[in-house]
């Protein structure tokens, strides 16, 4: 067990070191790409004083990440609040599904960069425009999974509802919702991943403080090491978010365990 645990740490560490070596070598040949060591030296003030606020964009990395996360949280929540009932409805009604499925399939692949200008036109301010872009981009996995979850409810459970003569509301609360919960959480997990992808694009375009805004500003100020810092931060935060949602998903897996 102990050996396995050691390998479990050693192997990923080796991979990270190898990637860093490739990065270091590449930086020797590309003059504008800072080496790992230079990146660390120029970034350590952000990392070592993560909660320091020096200016609007010049803040500790934890603060910047917090702004971004907060924005993502709001946009994601908005998307989930619209997407969950919409998905459940589409799952319950074949008519509605046939009515709206084509629209969803067309909306789904639209990039956040395309939604953002529309958001700015609609709301005239960058903050609501960013939320709009996050919500409208990230809600589709929730919608699609919620609908799939409802459709996957075994006939047995519908029979229970019929035999017990449960009211519509009770059927929804006691059967549809618990049966769909694991699907919903898979949808939420995917949606959150997309919301995090969208945040960078929307902050870059609107210039609001956050990891994405910081990235874009440092590019404009020619401080390339900070671009790398922002990229790594985005990756790590995204990874942690996904893991947390994954944990929530497994906690709920009991509900999907069909016992016949």
């Amino acid at each position: 067990m102990r050996i396995k645990g050691a390998i479990g740490i050693l192997l990923p560490a080796t991979g990270i070191v190898m990637a860093a070596i490739v990065w270091a070598i590449t930086s020797q040949y590309v003059p504008d790409l800072p080496s790992p060591i230079k990146t660390w030296q120029e970034s350590k003030i952000y990392l070592l004083q993560p909660l320091e606020k020096r200016g609007e964009m010049d803040q500790g990395i934890a603060l910047l990440a917090y702004y971004s996360l907060f924005r993502v949280g709001k946009g994601f929540l908005l998307g989930a609040l619209i997407g969950t009932p919409l998905g459940l409805l589409l799952g319950l009604s074949r008519t509605l599904h046939r009515m709206f499925d084509p629209i969803i399939q067309v909306m789904r692949p639209i990039s956040p960069l395309a939604w953002l200008p529309l958001g700015l036109v609609l709301f005239r301010k960058s903050e609501p425009a960013a939320l709009f872009a996050i919500a409208v981009c990230s809600m589709w996995p929730t919608v699609i999974n919620a609908a799939a979850g409802v459709k996957a409810i075994p006939q047995d459970y519908w029979n229970v509802a019929k035999v017990l003569r449960l009211s519509r509301l009770t059927t929804f609360r006691k059967i549809v919702l618990p049966a769909t919960l694991p699907y919903l959480f898979t949808g939420y997990r995917l949606s959150l991943g997309i919301a995090w992808l969208v945040i960078v694009a929307s902050e870059m375009l609107t210039g609001t403080p956050g990891v994405g805004g910081f990235l874009w500003q440092e590019y404009n100020s020619l401080i390339y090491a900070h671009i790398l810092l922002a990229i790594l931060t985005i990756g790590v935060v995204g990874f942690v978010l996904d893991r947390l949602m994954g944990l929530a998903e497994t906690k709920l897996a009991f509900a999907s365990r069909v016992t016949t």
């Binding site: 029979n159 019929k162 035999v163 017990l164 003569r165 009770t170 009991f254 016992t259």
Partner: protein, 301 residues
């Protein structure tokens, strides 16, 4: 008029452009308080018939009348027990039963509903497993929960769809006895229709047995009901007594004869057989056949 009146029911299933008749000219009357078993081979349409009688499915022709009113949906006084238990895996045994009680008696307080659920779970010996989820219960215990759920709504009508089909032999026997006991102590007479493929099970529990078999020679012919046989044996009955009882042997003989005759017919596939000769008078000497296995059924594809 009988309590349950099944009149000339016809049902076909469509797969693509093809339509296959499953039930044809099914007619049966069940008196109030009677326990009737429909015995037939696997896949002969028994469950379909039960679903129609219970109101879960509509017949294509004919009708089912219960207590003078045509069946259009599941009645509030009806309970159904399925072979696969049909419990909700995210609720405890108690909540599974409480949900049924709550739907049947919405104006009771939650405390009363819980008490009723607990009482009926205790009656099937699950007093110690109230908080367990179906996933944490054995097959026999799950079916006990399903039976408790059925009786907890104090039903007038009880439909049993091969309730013991998925259980091992020992558990099955224990549960059969339990069901017989529950039926006998119920507060109001329960009219029961049970679907089974075991003649022994039908003998043990029913007042009357109706064989169900294909009504034609062709492979995949629709099924209909044969002539019913009364089981006028005293209760409580035990499997051991039935093995040696003369009347039980006669009933068993009649049912087995009806079923096996239709089997032989479809084996031979005579071109001009009487398509409706389901009510057979022949009594084959089948004494000693205790459990029927229909693995060689060829009437179904």
């Amino acid at each position: 008029m009988a309590f349950i009146d099944i009149r000339d029911v016809f049902k076909a299933f469509r797969t693509g452009a093809q339509s296959r008749a499953v039930l044809e000219r099914v007619t049966l009357s069940v008196e109030q308080g009677e326990f009737v078993s429909i015995v037939g081979m696997m896949g002969c349409g028994k469950s379909t018939l039960l679903k129609i009688v219970a109101g879960l499915m509509r017949p294509d022709a004919g009708e089912v009348v219960v207590d003078g009113r045509p069946v259009t949906g599941v009645r509030s006084s009806a309970a159904i027990v399925f072979q696969n238990y049909s419990l909700l895996p995210w609720f405890s045994a108690l909540e599974n039963v409480r949900l049924a009680v709550g739907a049947a008696f919405p104006d009771w307080t939650r405390g009363d509903q819980l008490a009723q659920a607990r009482r009926h779970l205790e009656a099937v010996g699950l007093g110690a497993a109230l908080t367990r989820r179906p996933g944490q219960l054995s097959g026999g215990m799950r079916q006990r929960v399903a039976i408790a759920r059925a009786f907890a709504i104090e039903p007038q009508l009880l439909f049993l769809d091969e309730p013991f089909g998925a259980l091992d032999a020992l558990t099955r026997e224990a549960l059969q006895q339990e069901l017989a006991r529950l039926c006998s102590v119920a507060e109001r007479p329960v009219t029961t229709v049970m679907i089974t493929n075991s003649v022994e099970e039908a003998l043990l529990l029913s007042d009357r047995i109706v064989p169900m078999m294909p009504c034609g020679d062709a492979v995949g012919a629709a099924s209909t009901l044969g002539a019913s046989v009364d089981v006028a044996l005293p209760r409580p009955r035990s499997a051991g007594d039935l093995m040696h009882d003369e009347q039980a042997a006669r009933v068993r003989g009649h049912v087995v004869a009806s079923l096996s005759e239709s089997l032989q017919r479809s084996h031979r596939r005579r071109p001009s057989a009487d398509a409706s000769s389901s009510a057979s008078e022949t009594r084959l000497p089948v004494v000693g056949t205790r459990e029927l296995t229909y693995t060689h059924a060829v009437s179904e594809p």
